[in-house]
Amino acid sequence: MTGRWSTVTALVALACLALVPLVADPFQLTLLTRGLVWGLLAASLWALLRMCGLVSFGHAAFFGVAAYVTGIATTIWEVDNVFLALALGVGLTCAVSLPLALVASRLQTISFLLVTLAFAEMLRTLALRWRALGGSDGLPGVVRPDAWPLPVELAAPRGFFYFTLAVVAACLLGLYVIARSAFGHVLVGLRESGTRMAALGYHPAAYRAAAVLLSAGLAAVAGVLHAYLNRFVNPEDLGALVSARALLTVVVGGVPFIGPPLAALALTFLEDILSSHTDRWLAVLGGLYLAVSLLVGLRRRRRRVDPAATAPEPAAATPTPARQP
């Protein structure tokens, strides 16, 4: 565990971020807020990876569903409070994710990756075709709510930035608390040896499903913030690019807990610069993924993600039981 060093970095980062509004203009501040939101999404993905060794290529599904719920809540149901929106977003996203969580918890690592990708893309196609959700135009007009009982003005870039910073920090803290709890340790145990844990009476699929839901909830929080940040929701929020971006930042992030969010911040700025300089930024992005796959170490992640080691099938932990009478 990186313990002390991590805590210091986190606090320093938090302090720096808190001071940024004093020097940044509204545009930069909005960009930074966007980075924080992506950071939270990255953290949710990282959490799932750390808890279960599962790589999801479909976190955009949780993210986008929550964003759409927010959009609908604001434009149709006239929800005006950010905490209510968060509750609705997280609640409905988790409800919708339950079948996926239950099914996915019994899949092998790669199948899980493929199924999550497929799901997110199917949801995106659904959003594209569903007239009531605005189709390919999406849902505009997602006005910033009020933050009662907090005295924060969310309509202003500065207010929204501080709110986002607080929420993201709270979520990361929550993850840290869970990691140290009994539940968190059970998840570590399941990652180490599914057969041993089963032999002790733990139901592997139930815990895995809980972990997926937890991760989905965090991604949903990011989705709600995203909808309010852009004041706009569209089908691309469910797309593979969103999932891939989160995955990239998790891999490149390195340091636990705060690594992925910081990497996400960096990537946000990079993408912004890129898209303003060339029309072919998708190709460049593709090249970036390619480069990362060939050049980056992916050391620690690799140990966690190696399918042979983390596949949740009983035969994996005890070598060839059937051949050794």
Binding site: V103, R129, A244, L247, L282, A283, S293, R302, A308, A315
Partner: protein
């Protein structure tokens, strides 16, 4: 959907689409089952091949040219992806996350190059006149090309089955899918077998794009649409199994067609429901290996 004829038509549409997907999915499941390689670039290979088919292809005999060109392009692009992966094969072969990044990057790259070269506009290709008529069977009218497609792909599927079950190459692939270490232990160098499998999968993708061009055309977005369906087929069919992929392809094709015919707005839901239901009953897929 009022008459038997309507249902039969949807059956034909679903079957022909499903079989096209089978060509695509079989390539994916082979590389996945044998080389343990997740090849997301497959979707973009299809896209580029489709564009090539619609560009090169034309009326009469030029149609065949279009199909051949698409097949060739598929072959080349797939081998190129393998080539890239081989740059870091040691790490790449065991790390599925790395594979995901590599092939996703190739996907984005190829798709954007296609967007650039062809201005992001959809293209179509008319079916050759000889195959384009309509056929009346059992009180319904079927588009002739779809029937041709069903026949052609069934023949190809038979060819694949023959390849898998009756040739040395097929035996090597099956052995490798069952137990990669065993394959190495028998002294066979995996390299050439892998090249063969990647080549085959690219060929099949290109063929699917070419043959499917009169129905699907070429359009931006296909790289994700077909990729998703191929993934669903692979997971439902059981990774590495051609028989499973075949069964799953038909299932997916039919669900897709019936979903669009019966509940047009919710076609996406029916597919997701299918995946959830099948995986809930059999997490390892239709033909996947169950726990001992």
């Amino acid at each position: 959907m009022h008459t038997v004829g309507d249902w039969l038509l949807q059956l034909a549409i679903g079957t022909s689409f499903g079989l096209l997907l089978f060509l695509l999915a079989s390539g994916f499941t082979l590389t996945f089952g044998l080389a343990r390689f997740v090849n997301l670039a497959h979707g973009a290979v299809f896209l580029v091949a489709a564009y090539v088919a619609t560009n090169v292809g034309g009326p009469g005999w030029r149609f065949l040219l279009g199909v051949l060109a698409a097949t060739a392009v598929g072959l080349v692009l797939s081998l190129a992806t393998y080539g890239l992966a081989r740059l870091r094969w040691q790490r790449m072969s065991t790390d599925s996350l790395r594979q995901v990044f590599l092939t996703f990057g190739v996907l984005l790259l190829l798709a954007d190059l296609a967007r650039w070269h062809w201005d992001g506009l959809p293209r179509s290709l008319a079916a050759p006149a000889a195959l384009d008529g309509s056929v009346s069977l059992g009180g319904a009218t079927f588009p002739g090309y779809r029937l041709f497609l069903i026949g052609a792909v069934l023949l190809l599927a038979l060819g694949l089955w023959w390849l898998q079950d009756r040739t040395r190459f097929g035996a090597l692939v099956r052995a490798g899918v069952d137990d990669p270490q065993m394959l190495e232990a028998t002294g066979v160098r995996p390299g050439p077998v892998f090249i063969g499998v990647f080549a085959l999968s690219g060929l099949l993708a290109g063929l699917a794009a070419g043959l499917g061009a009169p129905i699907l055309g070429a359009a931006m977005g296909q790289e994700f649409e077909v990729l998703v369906l191929a993934l669903v087929i692979v997971v439902l069919g059981g990774p590495g199994s051609l028989q499973g992929a075949f069964a799953a392809s038909l299932l997916v094709g039919l669900v897709d067609a019936l979903g669009k015919a019966l509940l047009p707005a919710f076609a996406g839901f029916t597919m997701m429901a299918l995946v959830v239901v099948v995986l809930a009953i059999r997490p390892q897929g239709i033909a996947g290996r169950a726990e001992p």
